[in-house]
């Protein structure tokens, strides 16, 4: 059995792999994607020729090549379960297996934070990251006329990529304003290069005639069975007058109001969680070696808090050093010596990263958008009205209680989407008592797995943290 099993081959997982290789650890890397790279270094299929690879793509490819030489890679392979002894259950194309590594690194990344507004389930409305993935790994044009709405630098990155893919980008709808950012400008000024980078994304958009609206947000999306129009409103409006809406014809709406960390494996491994202000969710707590409270379980990258790819890479390296130290392969003094330069770089990076959610917060007004008939659980098509009734009529104060009466969170996605949006939505709209920090209890298996294949290796036991889990939802 390996010294270290790494879940996730993104920036964090790849950096950890390369460091683990240098330290002589026997390492296995698992990613359910068919290409390594994660979100930041997303790669097109290997066999596809590409005449004009971007800088980032090339850096990613070099990093992946080094990592592939240093460890065993299992791509297209999902981790569908983990227990409190950090035994790991894998599913590769329907054949399952159990691995018992000495240590585990959870580098499972993040996903676009879901926001429910009228029409958000129409085909053509997608997360900003989805549009980016279509362009970068599948080399397709995700739509003809696009609106990009959300908050933060990622919007401009995606808008620019859409533009280069030949999409007519009509508007970028940014929730933040210069005024809302003002209190943080003095701090931001200490990072001129990073600020210049942000401006560097916006300028080509403006030059191409893309309108950038600040202080605005989505109001709704409409169309007959697919997206045809996007309604946009100011973030703030007078207490009594309904916000003024504008209508934009579009067949693609990319939504990016920040990210949510993928934490279910950490929860199932029994890691202690802590509230993250930037993400507005509970994430695994970790020490100066990226070790969680669960013995032998480490975490790195966006799975444990925002930071972006450079932070994820530093954390990945630190975690690999932490694992080698934990297993007694290097001395504590040696580990400290190796870690020191990484930690000082990390401190600088994190200071800037912590500014971003303050410069570009997701506006609380987003919770005003859902109407009674708006779907909040996409898997089970549960409406907001039903979730609200669970609180106002049935007296639910936590997400788990909402689940039992509405089936929210019982679908294929295991509540990753409705679990990301309901806590703040119900806390704001239900009036009383709902706990905005409550979440669904994670359950094994975290990915659907065929019941027939489970017999061979023993089913992943629902842990104390997990409660009884179905074989699939």
């Amino acid at each position: 059995m390996p010294d270290l099993l790494i879940v996730g081959a993104g920036p964090a997982g790849l950096s950890a792999t390369n460091k683990a290789g240098q330290l002589g650890l026997d390492c296995v890397v698992v990613d359910e994607n068919t290409s390594a790279g994660g979100q930041y270094y997303r790669q097109p299929p290997v066999a596809w020729a590409n005449d004009r690879p971007s800088d980032r793509l090339l850096r990613g490819r070099a990093k992946i090549e080094r990592a592939t030489a240093a460890a065993t890679f299992r791509l297209g392979c999902a981790v569908y379960g983990i227990d409190a002894e950090h035994r790991i259950w894998l599913d590769q194309d329907g054949s399952v297996e159990r691995v018992e590594p000495a240590c585990v690194l959870l580098a499972t990344g993040a996903y676009d934070r879901p926001v429910a507004f009228p029409g958000w389930t129409l085909p053509g409305v997608m997360s900003a990251g989805s549009a980016q993935a279509l362009i970068k790994s599948q080399q397709v044009r995700p739509g003809a006329r696009a609106v990009v709405a959300g908050s933060g630098p990622f919007l401009y990155v995606v808008a620019l990529e859409l533009l280069h893919a030949g999409v007519h980008v009509i508007e970028v709808i940014e929730a933040a304003t210069v005024r809302s950012a003002l209190p943080f400008l003095p701090d931001s000024m200490r990072y001129p290069a990073r600020l210049a980078e942000l401006v560097g994304y916006a300028l080509p958009l403006l030059r191409a005639g893309v309108r950038i609206r600040r202080g605005a947000m989505i109001s709704s999306a409409g169309g007959d069975q697919r997206l045809e129009e996007v309604r946009v409103r100011p973030v703030r409006s007078g207490a009594n007058d309904p916000p003024l809406e504008r209508v934009i014809d579009a067949d693609l709406l990319c939504v990016g109001y920040g990210f949510a960390a993928s934490t279910e494996l950490a929860q199932l491994a029994g890691c202690t969680l802590a509230w993250d202000r930037g993400l507005q969710q509970n994430v695994p707590a970790y020490d100066e070696w990226q070790a969680t409270s669960a013995d032998g379980v480490f975490v790195a990258g966006e799975a444990s808090g925002l930071g972006g790819a450079p932070v994820a890479e530093c954390e990945g390296e630190l975690a690999a050093i932490g694992v080698a130290r934990h297993l007694g392969r290097i001395s504590d003094a040696g580990a400290q010596r190796m870690a020191e330069p990484i930690r000082s770089r990390l401190r600088r990076l994190r200071r800037f990263a912590s500014l971003l959610p303050r410069l570009f917060p997701a506006p609380p007004e987003l919770a005003e958008l859902a109407r009674p008939e708006t779907i909040v659980c996409r898997c089970q098509n549960v409406t907001f009205e039903r979730a609200l009734e669970a609180v106002t009529h049935a007296g639910a104060t936590t997400l788990n209680e909402v689940k039992t009466t509405t089936r929210c969170g019982m679908g294929w996605c295991q509540g990753r989407i409705c679990g990301g949006l309901l806590p703040s939505l119900l806390a704001q709209r239900a009036g009383t008592g709902f706990d905005p920090a409550s979440g669904f209890t994670a359950r094994n298996p975290v990915r659907p797995v065929q019941v027939s294949s489970l017999a061979a290796i023993g089913r992943v036991e629902p842990s104390d943290h997990g409660g009884p889990g179905p074989d699939h939802p």
Binding site: P45, D112, V125, G143, R226, R378, C413
Partner: protein, 102 residues
């Protein structure tokens, strides 16, 4: 074809793709290329991936997290079209009725 069903996606002209192949979507042959996902193959011919009892469904997260795009492949339900690659002759079902929507 009416506007509501015209394709969501176009292949970009630049890159050379994998070899041409055909998948079977609810009995209809759909041409595509090795290396493409099921989602891309379907969305280059129409505007939605699947249909459940309530609505048409497309892509949402695009990275395997939300399961909005699930279809059945060779009769196995819960397969994410956005991260699953096509292969020659693959049989895909996109009507999420009671039988395949577990």
């Amino acid at each position: 074809m009416d506007a509501s069903s015209s394709p969501q996606l176009d292949r970009l002209a630049g890159p050379r793709r994998g070899s041409a192949l055909t998948i079977d979507v609810d009995g209809e042959p759909i041409p595509c290329f090795a290396g493409e996902t099921i989602a891309v193959a379907i969305l280059t011919v129409r505007s939605w991936i699947s249909q459940d009892a309530v609505r048409r469904r497309g892509l949402y997260c695009g990275i395997g997290v939300c399961f909005e795009c699930v279809v059945a492949v060779e009769g196995v339900p819960g397969i994410r079209a956005c991260i699953t690659l096509v292969h020659e002759g693959m049989f895909v079902q996109t009507r999420l009725d009671a039988e395949i929507d577990a």
